[in-house]
């Protein structure tokens, strides 16, 4: 019952916000957003305490993989909701209705994707996330966000169409064995599925959902979209939307693992992972816009996720841990970048200098985020990247380990050059005011969210709580890997 509620509550609220005229105009129903976010998180936590029975005849179920993504999405959404309270003091989006409605629709769609055990329903949820986020990307309504939205819509839709084709391939692979496209049945009868269709299904689902994840070479929409969308939307997209897309890939990998066809899947996953790492490294050097930089960093981390899956063994556990860490870290970095954009109007290096003096809190969080996102201990991402590296070396793929290390090093140089470039130095003297630069008083609402996420990521580097460890290990086993 709770599973249904998780999807229904945000959906209904979204429809209410979009439908009921009282919400017309610029006022954003912030209270509603906060309440729904809190309720959603409460329900998710209840799932952790007492696992829920599958609902809708097995179509909705909370398995370890789904629960991890759901929790990540819920936490990010609540933090973003809190951030929005402070955000609205600076910017009122042209239509509050579309803004709130889109966000709530996104939460509903993401919950559907996380919980659905019916792959076609998963596809419908995925398509819904794409469409719910499209108007949010177009929030600024200027030429650049228009171009970003158009590219995002078209490329994602093509990707999603390929994923639908893949789903149909999976259906034809299943034929009449068990209930159609239901994950438990697929896994139970995995060995009797038709191998040729199953392989084709895996490839199309990987390319389809890979486009939604932003894996190279289908990543081209990502820098434009994250660059132009409002930072909190980019944060949600980089944090939870990509994780939902990864869930699609993970589902088909589960089926393949059950069908002992993992040896077919691994080279493809590794190829896409390495390509993403190399592309991210090439595009990060000399990057001058922080949001685009974080977009490429997201391409890199998606590459790492898929690479971990491809390497198998302890890599699967590394991927699951990295899924959670990356989501939180991306949310944290995009929200802080949002603060910078609110203060100085742009996230490019040209417009920002000496932020340590003007925005001390955000600058500190940005620098800490730099070290977190590039996998420096003691943050969580270090632990997961280290696990994936160990998987590469244990598997005897020394050359993969070398590529990982080289790309991580190059990416660190690129990111450090930009982030440290804008944080250090003397800020341009504000015209007309006294020479002494007074640090702007940053509203606690804007700072509370990123700090909370930073604390969680830091904790995950030093202490992985028991239940989370158990969930991640079970998920890794399902994906054909093993625990730490």
């Amino acid at each position: 019952m709770r599973l249904l509620a998780l999807c229904a509550i945000p959906l209904v609220t979204a429809l209410v916000v979009l439908g009921v005229p009282v919400f017309r105009g610029r006022r954003v129903p912030v209270a509603l957003l906060l309440v729904v976010a809190a309720a959603h998180l409460a329900l998710v936590i209840s799932l952790w305490i007492t696992p829920a029975l599958p609902a809708l005849g097995g179509w909705l179920a909370a398995d370890p993989l789904g629960l991890a993504v759901l929790t990540l999405t819920s936490v990010l959404f609540l933090v973003t909701a809190i951030y929005i309270v402070g955000y609205l003091r600076y910017e009122a989006p042209r239509s509050g209705r579309v803004f709130a409605g889109g966000l709530l629709a996104f939460l509903a769609a993401a919950s559907v994707v996380a919980l659905s055990h019916h792959l076609a329903m998963l596809w419908v949820g995925m398509e819904a996330t794409t469409l719910s986020v499209a108007p949010l990307v177009f929030l600024h309504r200027d030429r650049r966000s228009l171009e970003a939205t158009w590219k995002y819509l078209v490329v994602s839709s093509v990707g999603i169409a390929l994923a639908l084709l893949g789903t149909f391939f999976l259906a034809s692979a299943q034929g009449e064995i068990g209930r159609p496209l239901l994950l438990p049945d697929l896994i139970a009868h995995a060995r009797e599925l038709h191998p040729a269709w199953l392989r084709a299904a895996f490839l199309f689902l990987l390319v389809g959902f890979g486009t939604k994840m932003g894996l190279a070479p289908m990543h081209t929409w990502k820098p434009d979209t994250y660059g132009e969308a409002p930072s909190l939307v980019s944060g949600l997209m980089a944090g939870s939307l990509t994780s939902c897309a990864f869930l699609g890939v993970a589902r088909i990998t589960e089926v393949l693992a059950a069908a002992r066809l993992v040896s077919f899947a691994q080279p493809v996953l590794i190829a896409f992972g390495l390509l993403s790492l190399v592309v991210a490294a090439t595009f990060i050097i000399g990057q001058r816009d922080v949001k685009r930089l974080l977009a490429y960093s997201s391409v890199e981390h998606m590459g790492l996720l898929v690479l971990g899956l491809g390497l198998g063994g302890v890599g699967a556990y590394g991927t699951m841990l990295h899924l959670v860490n990356n989501g939180l870290a991306k949310g944290w970095m995009f929200l802080v970048t949002g603060n910078i954009v609110l203060a100085t109007g742009s996230a490019t290096a040209a417009a920002n200098r000496g932020l340590a003096r003007t925005l001390p809190a955000s600058a500190t969080l940005l620098v800490l985020g730099l070290f977190a996102v590039t996998g420096s201990p003691p943050f969580g991402l270090f632990l997961s990247e280290f696990t994936i590296l160990r998987a590469a070396i244990d598997g005897g793929h020394a050359w993969i380990a070398v590529i990982i290390l080289v790309t991580l090093a190059v990416i660190f140089v690129g990111m450090a050059a930009l982030v440290l470039g804008i944080v250090l130095g003397t800020p341009p003297a504000p015209a007309g005011t006294a020479r002494r630069i007074v640090p702007a008083r940053e509203s606690p609402w804007l700072i509370a969210g990123p700090i909370a996420l930073a604390v969680i990521v830091l904790m995950l580097g030093v202490y992985v709580p028991g239940p989370l460890q158990d969930i991640l290990t079970r998920a890794a086993l399902a994906l054909g890997g093993r625990g730490p």
């Binding site: 794409t130 171009e147 839709s157 093509v158 169409a161 639908l164 084709l165 496209l181 040729a196 132009e228």
Partner: protein
Amino acid sequence: MRDAAPIILLLVVLSDLAILGTSRLSSCIRGLAAQGFLLGLLPVLIAPQLSVHAVSLAVGTVIVKGVALPWFLSWAIREAAVRREIEPIVGFIASQLLGALAVALAFAIASRLPLHTVQPLLVPVSLATLMIGFIVLTTRRKALVQVVGYVILENGVYLFGLTQTESVPFLIELGVLLDVFVGVFIMGIVVFHINREFDSLDATRLTELTD
């Protein structure tokens, strides 16, 4: 009735090639509408027995793909009041040849795939439609024609879906249709904004975002 299906499928391929060949926007949309109707008929013809599911699917498809989408696109054209001809990036002859190549390739691939459905022609036509949709999407300048390309691509996938009508429950079919409609609806709005912003629908001018 069963032997009518292959004819319908061939007509679908013809409509694809026609859309590839047209140089006028309105005829392109009329082609799309025709394809919508043809797709609407297919579920009834293919289904082993006239189940409620097949009929409702047919009706839904006709309404969405035959009527609603084309009407909406033509509304967008009137709203945009834009020059009506289509200028493909690679030229008409080239896109025609590409289309033909796509059809040939589709049939070649389909012959190698292990088929067990009732209608042998269905898979090759769906792959052909899919590829032609992709060609239209990538070689046309106007945003609106790109939307048409996307719908054709979607039709290709829908066609392939027909091979699994009994396994994919109706609710999901409806969800797919709904998603496609909402997708095109939003694309339409964006096209409308593109036209207002760039006072032309030439999507190739959208190259401001670079590294």
